[in-house]
Symmetry: none
Subunit: 306 residues, 2 copies
């Protein structure tokens, strides 16, 4: 089996940047991506904080980053990694399609939206429950929706969703928001957006047609439950790192990979960057920086082993 110098798992901002740097550095990196390149970028309609590009759609930025890396020679395969085994001198990977070996691996697998864990959430996913306003917002044109959450992504997606929906109600269990102040101000100025603070979603319910038509809310302040009509439930309450293939192999904290300043994990042949690593600020520019750091570190390592 061919020994690759460097395999990247996951094609978000971190993986694509690592691919760009490794390719420019003279390696022939291979990037394995299970679905489509872009990672969480694909779930963001409007990106306004990637320095130098004032406004871009997440899908478009992902495409640009991919094309950029491929221009310098990044090879990509659309295969999800099912197992990863760490050895002293290499890392072994298995996908549905085959097996791979690499001297160094970067895990840039990102993280997935956290679930509310209430009845109806799984049952009605795709029938009114969504974790991505960018993907699904257009299905809710002139409909009333709720957003669950109180951080930057809840606010941001609420603003994005208001472009489509006739009304967006942001339901948050606390009495203050934890997101960027700029986004909070924007949301409050938006005439389509309303707020239900200190409220929790207890259940997601549907009509006879199997499509969400209401939620059961709990008003914490007044300690009472009531039904609230809505056709869309968009959930933005955090993320779970996609680190299951690394469990028991490298040091994790709350599922996030613990890395040093060069993005090296507790195993010298495994690096991690972007949303999957501990301390990530989950921003495109920072994940890209992680990817550059990891690739440059690995280039140095490989050179020292020649």
């Amino acid at each position: 089996m061919k020994m690759h110098d460097f395999i990247i798992i996951g094609g978000g901002a971190c993986g694509l940047t690592a691919g760009l740097y490794a390719s420019r550095g003279g390696l022939k990196p291979l990037l394995l991506e299970k679905e489509a390149p872009g990672g969480q970028l694909l779930l963001t309609d409007n990106i306004e904080n990637y320095p130098g590009i004032e406004h871009i759609n997440g899908f478009d930025l992902a495409q640009k980053m991919m094309n950029h890396a491929q221009k310098f020679g990044l090879e990509m395969k659309y295969e999800g990694v099912e197992t990863l085994d760490l050895h002293d001198d290499h890392v072994a990977l298995k996908t549905k399609n085959g097996e791979y070996k690499a001297k160094y691996v970067l895990a840039s697998l990102g993280s997935n939206p956290r679930k509310l864990g209430v009845p109806g959430e799984d049952k009605y996913r795709g029938k009114g429950v969504s974790y991505c306003a960018t993907c699904d917002g257009a299905f809710y044109k002139d409909k009333e929706c709720i957003i669950v959450g109180g951080g930057s992504s809840a606010l941001d997606e609420g603003i994005a969703l208001a472009e489509h929906a006739s009304k967006v109600t942001i339901v948050h269990r606390r009495d203050t928001f934890t997101g960027e102040k700029y986004l909070e101000d924007l949301a409050k100025k938006n005439e389509k957006i309303e707020f239900l603070m200190e409220h929790e979603v207890k259940e997601i319910r549907a009509g006879d047609d199997g499509k969400v038509d209401r939620v059961l809310l709990y008003d914490k302040k007044n300690d009472k439950e009531y039904e609230f009509a809505t056709e869309g439930v968009f959930i933005f309450i955090g993320y779970i790192p996609n680190s299951s293939i690394l469990e028991g192999q490298v040091k994790l904290e709350h599922g996030e990979v613990v890395v040093n300043a060069t993005m090296q994990s507790s195993h010298p042949r495994l690096y991690a960057g972007g949303d999957i690593r501990q301390g990530s600020v989950k921003q495109v520019i920072a994940s890209g920086g992680d990817g550059a750091m990891a690739a440059i570190s690995i280039l140095h390592k490989l050179r020292s082993e020649q």
Copy 2:
């Protein structure tokens, strides 16, 4: 005197990104820049490794980053900081024009490559003279280049450059290298790399097209000067971090600011990011990531102090 929440010193990729994030986060950050925004960006003609933008001039990218941050409210003043004093509850700054106080300060002052100090070096920077093989190596595909220096970075960058160039000649003024032995061995094993020991570059010269085509060398052993054809002159004789105003106030190593994973220095009110900090890979995307990290960390700190 007005107490600012957040002052950024230095308007390179790190400072401008921090300004963008802090502004979007609801702060009114002030950025102090002694000359022109952009930092090392201004010294790079062609940038091909900022993910998503396949090709851009350094000056243009700096302008885009500045306009982007200013659009969200970043205030900039063109004043060089002359003194900085750290206190328990604030940081005091003095410029030629006045005095400032801030709860938190980000030092994104960058570093400057140490210069050879020979004729042609400044004139042909970006036109054949470079201080970064990682940034510019790809522009020298199949061309003959020289590396000036004899330490680890000269050797390392020489090996990296040999991935692109057809021939790399390492010109070193001493008869032995001062870099890591394994790098020296690697360089010596590399068929593309040649050596001119006990040689000094006296002048960098260009053809009619204004692009470097030769250098004037001085052979110390035989005490004679001669011209040597080369299209790229890569100078690696060290960096000088712009940390003089921080000396004796925060922990420095070789002039670089020692920071934790949130970019906080040994003093809780002073953060540092980009080329001035220890461990920087000196790349736009990574310095931008440092700026986002610092700004987000400071936003959290300020919220927790409210």
